[in-house]
């Protein structure tokens, strides 16, 4: 929130270069579709306000346009297609936060952006504004095909087989306004990963697409199905080990058709595809899908030309070949330990020598996780233009990434981010918490979550201690719908309701990465005033129990629940 004071400093920046974007740019067709959508939704909203559409009908229609009705006001979820946002788009989000909301926006765990206070009658105007920068809220909620997500380091990390973004874009187009799959039993989420390290939680998606290489060296897809979080967290299972790239859409279509036809519609808590797969059994489910796929695949092949055309949007930006020759970076690292720490935690190595990917932490101790002010949106847009080819990404843990920063620029960028309070060196640590809106905004909540995060931050106000704890993922949800993925947090906190009082259940050992696991319950839930002490106790037990460099997750696996349980419940 300190951003406004600093905005004038940043406005001194010189527009030295307006970068050419290396992300998908709408063609005329894309633009036409999105503009026609705005007109369509404006008509639907007007008919609702005139009483020509009833609540139920309008609910289905507005949800498919990202519009929830919440505790205080509607909530509008804007799509961030696989997390890519241009500086221009970020400024537009800033405008919307400023003009239609209370001056801030919220980044979600699925790379989308939420506004908590728009006025229903003005939503069509917001959509019209978004359409001017190739953005929309299409299918960001409702029982339909949702925004496809991927690795926030796509295209710049060292460990990927190929850039997953063209695949994401092909899926984005196919899912957008798919006429057959708009009234599914339940929502449907697809995530794509192309690297050894899964940073997109693909094992917890309805479909996980892994870009893989087979024994013959050909690149294709490994397809997982039936993963999901929410009330019944389930790890996705492999349905096909290798799919030729040309068959991507026919295979997805076959899975969706089987799901649409046979998924349960009698009980919304059993309606996700994970339940269908479990109840049918993977073998039978696979046979059904493959039979359908065999019938449609020849008519739906993707040509090499199509891949090439999409791929052409994701060329490398104009990297400086001599970026690694810079010596100032090493000097700053040596002279400034705060900078060195930030580099260690908030930046990642890059496929190009002399570049790093920079995380913009939206987890400052006193700010709700994932929230960002309009002033900061503008400021980050400017920083993206200045230092990272005009592009920003949002991450699955509710932070932002400037993916292509030259090492020579890191020091200046760090200073500017610090002034904006966006440089808390806590990425991947105990205060990089995923948090849902909880009682503050959500009508379904049992318990508050944002304040618990704030108190955890207060309890852990020693950054050296946080760094010493290392890689710890704490996730907190206000109810069992699990929007903040508590079941796969290394430490999961779940708000439960006991006779109208807020209680919290703790799980340990979950993970949404390669070693996917659902956390185990530590014991009985704890009261509101005990939850923060319980978390600090768990962290202390870890520091006592760990061997050498052992991570929190490894320690939990090795020592089990007992030592944690004993200390947390010692006074009961």
């Amino acid at each position: 929130m300190a951003c406004s004071i600093l905005l004038f400093i940043l406005s001194y920046r010189v527009y030295t270069r307006i970068p050419t974007l290396c992300m998908y740019q709408y063609n005329d067709n894309d633009q036409t579709i999105i503009e026609e959508r705005v007109v369509q939704f404006r008509g639907q909203t007007e008919r609702f306000l005139k009483g020509e559409l009833n609540e139920d009908q309008f609910r289905a229609l507005r949800l498919m346009n990202g519009l929830y009705i919440q505790t205080h006001a509607p909530m509008l979820r804007v799509a961030g297609p696989y997390g890519l946002i241009s500086a221009k788009q970020l400024r537009k989000l800033g405008d919307i936060a400023k003009n239609y909301d209370k001056g801030y926006a919220h980044f979600t765990t699925r790379q989308n952006i939420q506004f908590n206070w728009p006025e229903l009658a003005k939503v069509p105007d917001i959509l019209a504004e978004l359409a001017t920068v190739q953005m929309h809220a299409v299918q960001t909620s409702g029982n339909c095909l949702r925004n496809t997500t991927t690795d926030h380091l796509a295209g710049v990390c060292k460990d990927e087989i190929e850039d997953p973004r063209p695949t994401c874009e092909i899926i984005r187009q196919w899912t957008t306004f798919h006429p057959e799959f708009a009234y599914l039993p339940r929502k449907f989420k697809i995530a794509v990963s192309a690297s050894a390290q899964d940073r997109a939680a693909t094992q917890f998606h309805d479909i996980g697409v892994h870009i893989v290489k087979n024994a013959a060296g050909e690149i294709g897809y490994r397809i997982l199905v039936g993963g999901g979080l929410g009330r019944t967290p389930i790890i996705g299972e492999e349905i096909r080990p290798f799919l030729e790239k040309k068959h991507l859409l026919s295979y997805l279509e076959a899975i969706l058709r089987i799901y649409n036809l046979y998924g349960r519609r009698d009980n919304k808590y059993k309606a996700r595809i994970k339940i269908l797969v479990k109840e049918t059994g993977m073998e039978t489910f696979r046979q059904q899908v493959e039979a359908e796929w065999n019938a449609i695949k020849d008519g739906m092949e993707l040509s090499d030309a199509r891949f090439a055309e999409i791929k052409a949007h994701f060329t490398d930006p104009a990297y400086d070949k001599n970026a690694a020759a810079d010596t100032s970076f090493a000097a700053h690292l040596e002279q400034n330990s705060a900078f060195a720490t930030w580099i260690k935690f908030n930046t990642k190595e890059h496929k190009m020598d002399g570049y790093r990917a920079v995380f913009v932490s939206l987890k400052a101790p006193d700010s709700p996780p994932g929230d960002i002010t309009d002033a900061c949106l503008y400021a980050v847009a400017d920083l993206a233009d200045e230092y990272s080819f005009g592009e920003v990404r949002s991450t699955h843990r509710q932070n932002l990434v400037l993916a292509d920063v030259k090492q020579a620029d890191l020091y200046a960028l760090w200073q500017k981010l610090s002034a904006l309070k966006l440089a808390t060196a806590n990425i991947g640590t105990a205060t990089d918490i995923i948090c849902c809106p909880g009682l503050d905004f959500c009508a379904l909540a049992n318990a508050g979550s944002i304040d618990v995060v704030k108190e955890i931050n207060q309890a852990l106000d020693d950054i050296d201690y946080i760094h010493d704890l290392g890689d710890i993922k704490i996730n907190i949800s206000g109810c069992m719908n699990g929007c903040a993925h508590q079941s796969v947090g290394h430490i999961g906190i779940l708000g439960v309701d006991k006779k109208g009082v807020e209680w919290y259940q703790i799980t340990l050992g979950g993970s949404s990465e390669n070693e996917a696991a659902i956390g185990d319950r530590l014991g009985p839930s704890v009261a509101r005033d005990e939850i923060v002490p319980a978390i600090t106790t768990i962290l202390e037990v870890y520091t006592e129990q760990r061997q050498e460099e052992e991570s929190f997750l490894t320690t939990v696996k090795r020592v089990g629940m007992t030592p944690f349980k004993e200390k947390v419940y010692a006074n009961h």
């Binding site: 067709n29 036409t32 579709i33 026609e36 959508r37 007109v39 369509q40 639907q44 559409l53 009908q57 289905a60 229609l61 029982n143 187009q173 196919w174 957008t176 306004f177 798919h178 006429p179 057959e180 799959f181 708009a182 009234y183 599914l184 039993p185 058709r257 649409n260 036809l261 519609r265 019938a295 449609i296």
Partner: protein, 146 residues
């Protein structure tokens, strides 16, 4: 009563024939049960035959008869139930059905566009006054990705 058919508002020419009603001349719709029992008589009557399908009906039972049936009515149990979207699509692509597919029952006019994209070419709305609006929605999108 009017309906939308092939992008026009036209008069419905079919009469609903209840299972216990005797056969009469002219276009009629019948239930699947009646079709299975009286196929021969139905086909020899003077007029076309349409089938009223519910969500429970198994279309494979009539796979071989489809070229003799001029109309298939798909009766939506609830607008949120998307199964008929896939069924309609399969009738066209898997069973090669060429006749009229008409949506009836509990769907809403805001679904008419999508339904038109997957092979439904006729719409019977519960509220006839909405026909002009529904017709206009057929032009909501000029382009599609699929």
């Amino acid at each position: 009563m009017q309906i939308i058919k092939d992008k026009q508002i036209v008069e419905n020419t079919y009469r609903y024939l209840a299972d216990d009603e005797s056969l009469s001349n002219g276009n009629i719709t019948v239930s699947l049960a009646r079709w299975l029992q009286e196929k021969a008589q139905l086909l020899s009557h003077n007029g076309q035959v349409g089938l009223r399908l519910t969500i429970e009906d198994d279309v494979t039972l009539i796979a071989d008869d489809l070229n003799k049936i001029a109309l298939l009515e798909l009766n939506f149990p609830a607008f949120t139930d998307g199964r008929l979207f896939s069924r309609a699509k399969l009738l066209r692509i898997r069973f090669g059905y060429q006749g009229e597919i008409r949506a009836v029952g509990n769907f809403m006019l805001d679904q008419v566009f999508y339904l038109s994209k997957i092979g439904v070419n006729a719409f019977h709305l519960n509220n006839e006054e909405q026909l002009p609006v529904a017709l206009a929605t057929l032009d909501d999108f000029s382009i599609s990705y699929q």
